[in-house]
């Protein structure tokens, strides 16, 4: 395993949010962290990204890695356009401007933002901002891509397109990715491995290797349905407690 997070604990004052999480992953693996809302998934991602250093536990393999991040709250510069936000994020890399623009233009088109790419982000709808945030994250080639509820604010059709785009980019460029979500279907559709977290203080309650080819991950297929049932029961266990 290339990356290792061991016994990650985090508290805010007397509130224990993460109660000892162990996750390992390979350099080209896509892990989905699935858990109930408010269980500390975002906190966990921030620890992985190195944005939060005040935690207990081990974080290995990440020190020389580059990161890209799709924030749940977008974190776009509101006075800049989607294109300029992406260029801002790329300014820390040595990518040529012309190459960057080609890449951004393509992502803008694929994300359906064309026609809006030069408008200040503050004038865009929530869904458009989400896509601008995805464009910014995808245009930067990073060792580790972190996605925090990245596909939540977009409609179902667009969500599928964006997830396909995400998988397509991963196929070409590789890299590790961690997506956190509370949507089991998103997890089933994308993950190489699904890690289910408990409610606060979050712990790993189960892990599922998803060895079903991606083009066979459609609702109604036997293997998918079986895995979905197992996932649901793991999540129900989480919600109802271990004795339920």
């Amino acid at each position: 395993m290339d990356f290792r997070l061991s016994g990650i604990r985090k508290s805010f004052g007397s509130l224990e949010v993460l109660g000892g999480i162990d996750v390992e992953m390979d350099r080209d693996e896509l892990i989905v962290i699935l858990g109930p809302s408010g269980c500390g998934k975002t906190t966990f991602l921030k620890i992985v990204a190195g944005l939060d250093r005040a935690f207990e536990g081990g974080r290995e393999g990440f020190d020389d890695s580059s990161f890209s991040f799709v924030f749940q709250d977008h974190r776009l510069l509101p006075w800049k356009s989607a294109v300029d936000n992406a260029l801002f994020a790329l300014s820390g890399t040595d990518i040529e401007r012309s190459t960057a623009m080609t890449r951004i233009d393509r992502l803008i088109r694929l994300s359906g933002l064309d026609g809006h790419e030069r408008r200040p982000v503050r004038e865009l709808s929530g869904g458009m901002r989400q896509r601008a945030s995805l464009v910014r994250a995808f245009c930067r080639h990073a060792d580790v891509l972190l996605l925090d509820e990245a596909f939540q604010s977009v409609d179902l059709g667009r969500k599928r397109e964006l997830m396909r785009l995400f998988l397509g980019i991963r196929e070409i460029e590789g890299g590790a990715a961690i997506l956190v979500t509370h949507d089991p279907w998103e997890a089933l559709w994308l993950a190489d491995r699904i890690v289910v977290l408990s409610d606060r203080p979050a712990k790993v309650v189960d892990t599922f290797d998803v060895d079903i080819p991606r083009d066979e991950r459609e609702a109604g297929m036997d293997r998918v349905a079986r895995l979905e049932r197992r996932l649901s029961s793991a999540l129900m266990g989480v919600r109802l407690g271990p004795d339920a």
Partner: protein, 252 residues
């Protein structure tokens, strides 16, 4: 909707001006002596008579140039010093005694000292700079802390170079504070420039006109010069408002 609101606002402004003029006229009628309190009409006639003269144009031009100079220097220096002070504790510690001293010093004391040190034309600029600088610096200090922590965190994650974070995130986020500070220092600059001119008597200046008219007991002319200063200040603030409008980095 917005047009009718603008009309209502304009109407209220006109009513307010009419009320002030009414009170003024009533006071002038009650006093009955132009040398103490001339009527608005008398002042208007004086202003109309004064406005086409070459001296008036030169005086207004001179005061405008001084006000602009003081504003530019105080805005620039206040922005840089205040922003640095907001970003770095050491700069703040170094600047604090200076700013406190300047704030506590009466403007007249500053002007009298400046009279000893500088030529008459520069005294008003120096005094206005010293009065406006702390105002601008205080706003810029607040502005330096205005960049949201989550956006700075985002920039750190994407390893954006510090220079770009400064120019594309911190400074735009501070823009409303710069604008508010500059607006306050603009208003202050005019007042102190005219006060400085009254005492230092440069050749072409509204303040010089004010003082000369006072010495000759031409009270309507004193009022006319004061009106010229008010109009100049109003014009500058309007121009500033137009300049800043549409450049706000909203949405934070």
């Amino acid at each position: 909707m917005s047009t009718s609101r603008n009309r209502r606002r304009l109407g209220m402004g006109l009513i307010s001006i009419a009320a002030l003029l009414g009170i003024w006229q009533a006071g002038a009628s009650l006093v009955g002596k132009d040398i103490i309190l001339p009527s608005p009409y008398r002042v208007f006639v004086e202003l109309i008579a004064l406005a086409p003269t070459a001296d008036f144009a030169a005086a207004v031009g001179g005061t405008f140039a001084r006000g602009l100079e003081a504003f530019a220097i105080s805005t620039l220096a206040g922005s840089v010093a205040g922003f640095a002070s907001g970003r770095f504790d050491l700069v703040r510690a170094a600047l604090a005694p200076l700013l406190t001293t300047i704030r506590a010093t009466p403007v007249l004391a500053l002007i009298l000292l400046a009279l000893l040190w500088f030529p008459a034309g520069f005294v008003p600029v120096f005094a206005a700079f010293l009065m406006a600088f702390p105002v601008m610096a205080a706003s810029a200090t607040e502005g330096a802390k205005a960049a949201p922590a989550e956006l700075l965190e985002m920039a750190a994650l994407f390893q954006v170079p510090p220079r770009r974070v400064l120019f594309e995130l911190r400074i735009p986020a501070a823009f409303p504070f710069f604008a508010a500070g500059a607006r306050a220092s603009l208003g202050l600059s005019w007042k102190v420039v005219v006060a400085g001119e009254v005492l230092s008597q440069p050749r072409f200046a509204i303040g010089t006109g004010l003082q000369s008219s006072r010495l000759l007991l031409e009270t309507p002319r004193v009022f006319a010069w004061a009106f010229a200063a008010i109009l100049l200040c109003g014009l500058a603030e309007w121009l500033f408002g137009r300049l800043v409008a549409g450049k706000s980095f909203r949405g934070l």
